[in-house]
Symmetry: C2
Subunit: 152 residues, 2 copies
DNA sequence: CGTGAAATATGTATCGT
DNA sequence: ACGATACATATTTCACG
């Protein structure tokens, strides 16, 4: 993966709707050479997928929560079951396993408080594996980006 | 925004590289009708942008931090300056303004601990507005999705 | 990696409901 | 106002140099 690949990736991180022609021009390649690289980057898994980012406010999913989860005990099997449950829950946008007093941090998106209450009952408390959790209610998501710093 | 728009959005949330033809077929519209809707959804800002999601591990940006920030005092101007600083920092992927004992939660992506130390010095501590912060080091990001639950 | 031609997709105009 | 069909334009894709 060379400088050209990194430039391609950085462009696509910002705008994946670019045509291959326009992308090729920006990075200084012919369309065919550029396409070959993009395909290789997709197949190798560096480009995981291409997605549309929607405005949460326009869709009634504008309530974001940061949830700090502490497990009942430190146990691999318990952790695996928990992460699988989070994987299956559509409200859970992100799940980080962290070090320290807390075991997991979740980013959860819901329409309203009732939906969040249901989430707590049906997903968080459903496994007898969560000892306690603390919810930080987000009044405002002031930044949301998916662009990783590639250092180029 | 009707059921058809929601189906279009949910498809594009999952895969924005779908051709308009394939998308039209999936939602049961003619290509031209589908394209009109997609264009409208883009122009109205419901579709904010289309981006490539990259594998952080493949790019040496695999260290994720959850940072809880407490400000020196509750002050609108201070908050605005802080959010602007976070907006400008490429390491800050997300910034949530939250209620409770903590004022902000950040999701930060860096290559290594040295980069994170530099970030703390040059960005977090640079404004004399942060009273204290707590870093939760992520050992593993077990889920990362951008797909909002649209309830369809 | 680049060129050029065939295959495909996008975008537009027009008509019908 | 919205969707379908058909046509013109643009893009993708592949064989070859």
């Amino acid at each position: 993966m060379d400088r050209l690949d990194l430039r391609i990736l950085d462009q696509l991180q910002q705008d994946a709707s670019l045509t291959n022609q326009a992308l090729a021009e920006r990075v200084g390649l012919s369309p065919s050479a550029c396409l070959k690289r993009v395909r290789r980057l997709r197949e190798s898994g560096v480009i995981q997928r291409e997605v549309a980012i929607l405005a949460p406010e326009a869709l009634g999913a504008s309530l974001h929560m940061v949830v700090e989860v502490t497990m009942v005990r430190d146990d691999r099997t318990l952790y695996r079951r928990f992460t699988q449950r989070m994987e299956a829950a559509p409200e859970v946008m992100q799940c980080y396993q962290v070090t320290g007093e807390v075991d997991f941090v979740l980013i959860v998106s819901v329409a309203d408080m009732e939906s969040y209450d249901r989430f707590c009952d049906n997903v968080l408390d459903a496994g007898q594996d969560v000892h306690k959790f603390r919810t930080l209610i987000s009044r405002k998501r002031t930044k949301f980006q998916t662009r990783l710093p590639l250092g180029i």
